[in-house]
Subunit: 368 residues, 2 copies
């Protein structure tokens, strides 16, 4: 997005020129060009955000998604100044494969939370596939019919930043801005694929995994590692003749969870049943989530987890950078291809082949 | 180990000098000094290994564990020349927490396999803690009473190489030498802690996790990630009044395994019950393991897994090296400390702090 200010710039000023007079000079168009909104200063962004100005918040998020160096610099100033005002929210990650009824559920969950807390809700997303597939989650705000028209909700589609690292960074920075703007509940939606769940899990206080039963093979469908990541597993579509299947599935999940050690939070992962469509079980689900929040705030894990997440992203960012510098080096690309061929053909051990690649980059005999 | 040849050097030549004549010159001692074995050439090592000479194999393993540069170089030559003769074994990883009866089990498993295959068995280990604790697994060969005196078994304690990466590398290289020496079954024992299980899993064809029941809380004891790694879970001490508890535990594990997708091998992870002490269930366990080996050799996964393991160690070695170069840089150490402090105090976002660290190492504005 080259011009982050464009999105809001012409809002409400869209005037059609007459197609019958394409050459005519429209004085209103000239006037509009003069009305072009000036770029905001860092002060103006920060003041606007802290005052809860949605338009300025939205422009700031667009700014931080920009790849123009001057925008990046300005965005970093704004974020740095918002940082002391951030952190005072409850961050909930919501994951689920397509078909789990995520949009409907988030719509219902959001309304419930807004009513319950009387506060403001921001719904963000992590979807590194959004650029490739064109079908970003949250891209179409109308999927959340009730939340999208609610005055206290702020819905923002996944940034299309290319790499997961880039997308995750922008979402983390957007959380800072939203919190500074007074949003006291943040939902981070993610698709149940690849590493995006790990990224989401690493920026929320509670990670909720939505599952759906009734397809017959739902018990095969749980992803590797997800049992360890989930703070709660919620079974959607627990309504009608699906209730019995749902109960059976819940029992299976509960049994399986017994096989894992108690998480470091000290909280036993719960299995919930609800119906996004009929609104059953949603209050009970959120009773439990808020019970969790109280529990971990009391035992200190809430702070500890956020602190660890900050350090995680610090180290993750460093890892990504040193990794990418190394593997994008043309000498490394060539040497690695050779090394893989040698290893496949059993001409060299993996270790010896690795040394050759490292010597290419760092100089001969520089490593062992 | 400074002098790898020392271990074998004086074997069978241990002569006590008389304690009553400490000053006397013992001509036999002089003779012994002259009999000091010359260092072998690469040719001699390779020939000896390929001929199945246990003494030379043992010296070669000691050589590759040496940190002296000339030994490292010689060892790499030997390994490179053994490599074309390696690979023709079945590699079984055996993991289990202390108390799972690992030594007794391996003793029984080993005897069973030796009888069954009529071949030779090498028992190796991965235990990065061996140097620190002094109590290496396999350090005391007498823990495996039967195997340690069996003419067709070769037992080697864990190399004490410091880092897990170093230990794993030496174990992988020892596998190459053992296979070249005609050992057609390799056991790799590991303790059920830390990353050593991942390392072990990444060098074997079948990863067996030993569990023990009867302690009451065994179902809490299964480690994160282990369900995904195990090709088989074996419940030991299924004897006497422990049989019922064992059956119950087996049912729980089987249920839990249903929650995971079928592994890429296409093989459903099995749960076994056996008694290392009484020898029950050991044949059935190994029937199943050999059935697995046939199954994956037939569907191509056996080769695919080994190939992936080779590539895994290639990349893992590279990762370790670039990681360690970066994090051991004094500028990075200082900058990282500052970055962590800043992030903890919310003075900077994780991303901004990471950039500062990266700029310290790579130069200003070199990364983004």
């Amino acid at each position: 997005m080259e011009h982050p200010e464009n999105e809001e710039q012409y809002k409400g000023l869209r005037v059609e020129t007459s197609p019958t007079s394409p050459g005519s000079v429209n004085p209103y168009l000239n006037f509009r060009a003069k009305r072009r909104k000036p770029e905001l200063t860092a002060d103006q962004y920060v003041e606007g955000i802290l005052a809860g100005d949605v338009t300025i918040l939205s422009r700031a998020v667009t700014l931080l998604e920009s790849t123009r160096p001057e925008h990046e610099q300005l965005a970093q100033q704004v974020i740095a100044r918002c940082l002391p005002h951030a952190g005072k929210s409850v961050r909930i990650g919501i994951s689920g494969v397509p078909g789990a009824g995520k949009s409907t559920s988030i719509d219902e969950f959001g309304l419930h939370v807004l009513e319950r807390t009387g506060g403001k809700l921001a719904v963000l997303a992590i979807d590194p596939t959004s650029e490739r597939t064109g079908g970003s989650i949250l891209g179409d705000k109308t999927r959340m019919e009730k939340l999208s028209v609610h005055p206290k909700s702020f819905i923002r589609p996944s940034p299309s930043g290319g790499s997961l690292g880039g997308v995750a960074r922008k979402t983390r920075e957007t959380i800072v801005l939203c919190e500074a703007a007074g949003y006291n509940t943040i939902f981070v939606e993610t698709v149940g694929v690849g590493q995006s769940e790990t990224a989401c899990h690493s920026m929320v206080d509670f990670f909720l995994v939505l599952q759906v039963t009734g397809t017959g093979d739902e018990l095969q469908g749980i992803k590797r590692g997800i049992m360890e990541m989930a703070d709660g597993i919620a079974l959607n579509k627990c309504d009608g003749d699906n209730v019995e299947r749902c109960k059976l599935a819940a029992a299976y999940y509960k049994n399986a969870l017994h096989l894992f050690p108690t998480p470091p939070s000290g909280w036993t992962t719960q299995v919930y049943m609800y119906s996004g469509l009929f609104g059953y079980g949603i209050k009970e689900l959120w009773d439990s989530i808020y019970e969790y929040i109280d529990f971990v705030k009391h035992n200190g894990y809430f702070e500890e987890r956020r602190n660890n997440q900050n350090l995680y992203w610090l180290h993750e960012t460093i890892e990504q950078a040193i990794h990418s510098r190394f593997y994008n080096d043309p000498r490394v690309i060539a040497a690695l291809q050779q090394a893989e061929d040698d290893v496949r053909a059993a001409r060299q051990t993996s270790f010896r082949a690795a040394e050759n690649v490292l010597n290419t980059y760092f100089g001969l005999n520089s490593v062992r």
